[in-house]
Symmetry: C2
Subunit: 364 residues, 2 copies
């Protein structure tokens, strides 16, 4: 099938680019002895999870129990739930997942560890635990220091749990920003301090996990990190180009749209807005832009509503008509993929595969 | 079932508030002789569409053919597709809908009208048409003037179509903003000019449609408007409170969330971020806020990632613990509802109904 036969908006995945991205990161991890446990938040599909595993990933990372349930069909030998799991219902479902594959949970509080311990004991299972370290993002995680060691020590004493190590996430760091390198230095210092603290406390760190796509290829510079869990690298997006972590030619996802109105001279409306792309912008961008129009690089995607994308074509030097189709690289591919029920795998202009975005919208 | 038995995040709809909102707008339209054809973009559920009809709505409005298909089960006598429908696949599906209920399409180009005419002729159907007028939003629509009249005249000659009148949308106008009243005056002048132009051209305007929730209760001040199609009024949200179009007590939707981390003193993370609420902000807000925490009004929902909501509790004067549940009024309820598979209808703290958000994610 040719892509012109698809109705719009439609999510297209360039399979050659996807495969090149998978290969490149697998090669990097292999070269530097890093365990790869990629986050499925970006693709949300067991089919791509399976390809990541066949490219050497040791397991997969998810945020939600609902994602873990879906990812079982990828055949992954190992699932990291990189999110504190709270509440009986989620814990019960997680134990069902843990009967089918190895499960590790990342958390940052004794309350969450105790809930997990009770659930694991009741189920007769052992769940791995990583303690989350805050290295400047100020999201989940304890700062390096005695509270972090104390939580780890408490976990080693909780039945049903196996303390595996620590994880951190530092997706706020763009090395091409003025303050990027300084923040990255703090990550290195933080990981060094954690290792020193745990060594003194006599607690082994089997896993010291890091991640994030913007600093992916610098992971080996952080002494001690032995596992990474990037997500966005499979598809990349406009934000990753802005972060300097990829080129436009690496971006595997475009959204195929149709021009529905050119009533206003110099402008056009496309049939994709925030319900198709989400309204995520690019942090620090000089002018608002909601995506890159591949056919008309001078077009400015300057505004959106739920069903409308607003293009400024005054500098485009090209006539755009109602019915024309435009392929747009989203700002933030993870959230854009989440808006689509299906993905179309293409080579050139041919649709080779169609798959459901199975873990789409799994909020719980 | 008590809401404490629900897993989170979960979309809660206060049924008393919903019913009060439906009654208030139905009463207003009845008092002023306005035909009400509400937009389902906010609730995306045939069940609520049916209640709108039982409260006096003459029909329903949708943006996508996929929404029209879903809304058939509401039993609506009439569907307005307020979006230019482009492409054979969508036209074919729309004709199937038009075999089951009356269909009208809003459009702003001869290309779209011709496509619709061909499809209607082939199906042996007659489709109503409204021509979209731009009254300052600069989205779809022709400006008042000769091009608008010419398009309408052309449509009256196209087989399979029935020219019904014009529609406009002016959701950019918040009457509590400094420039709001002046923009609203321009809407009145625009509608007056349109009526004068069409009178001169001898083309009858059966329908002069307006809409938008922020100016809803001022619709009767625009001389000539005889139909409105507001959407957000069923649920309202933080943005509508900011626009001065409702009170907090009118907001029917809250998202039930759970606190998953309090590792950082003075802050908390909840299990809902942009995948639950979307990242829509409030235009012109002094500080970023992603929703109103009903239990802790001093909490500032200052940041979000896909799965994390960041709360600043330093002014909250209340201790928040992991596992606590918080109900949050979203900024933009239409896009938030779109992220949820199910809605829970509650009275007080009891869940009385559960329904699927059936038209969720209908991109095509």
């Amino acid at each position: 099938m040719h892509i012109s036969e698809l109705d719009t908006p439609a999510l297209l995945v360039d399979l050659d680019r996807l495969e090149a991205n998978l290969r490149r990161v697998a090669g990097y991890c292999s070269e530097h002895g890093l365990r790869l446990r990629p986050h499925i938040k970006t693709h949300k599909s067991p089919l791509i999870g399976r390809r990541q595993i066949s490219h050497g990933a040791a397991g997969l990372t998810v945020a939600k129990v609902g994602e873990a349930e879906v990812m079982l069909s990828s055949g992954t030998p190992d699932l990291l739930v990189a999110y504190p799991i709270v509440g009986e219902s989620k814990l019960r479902r997680l134990m069902e997942v843990a009967r089918k594959t190895n499960v590790t949970v990342a958390l940052d509080s004794l309350e969450v560890a105790q809930g997990l311990s009770s659930a694991a004991q009741a189920a007769g299972l052992t769940i791995g635990v990583l303690v989350e370290v805050n290295l400047g993002l100020n999201r989940c995680g304890l700062d390096p220091g005695p509270d972090l060691v104390a939580l780890a020590a408490a976990i080693t004493r909780l039945p049903g749990l196996r303390f595996d190590g620590v994880q951190s996430y530092y997706g706020h760091i763009w090395l091409n920003k003025p303050d990027g390198p300084a923040h990255f230095e703090k990550v290195k210092q933080g990981i060094a301090q954690v290792q020193e603290d745990f060594r003194k406390a006599g607690i082994e760190l089997k896993i010291i996990g890091g991640g994030s796509t913007p600093t992916l290829f610098h992971s080996h510079e952080i002494a001690g990190i032995n596992e990474i869990r990037p997500g966005t690298y499979v598809f990349y997006d406009s934000m990753q180009v802005a972060a300097g972590s990829c080129r436009w030619e690496d971006c595997a996802v475009t959204v195929l749209t149709t021009v529905v109105s050119t009533a206003r001279p110099g402008y056009a409306l496309i049939d994709g807005g925030s319900k198709t792309f989400t309204s995520d912008g690019i942090p620090g961008a000089a002018q608002p832009s909601f995506g890159k129009v591949t056919e008309v690089p001078e077009a400015v995607f300057y505004n959106m509503n739920e069903e409308h994308g607003y293009l400024d074509l005054r500098q485009a030097g090209k006539t755009i008509r109602v019915g024309d189709r435009l392929r747009i690289i989203p700002n933030h591919v993870c959230v854009a993929v989440n808006m689509h029920e299906k993905a179309y795998g293409i080579r050139g202009d041919n649709v080779e595969e169609v798959w459901p975005v199975e873990a789409r919208g799994k909020l719980q």
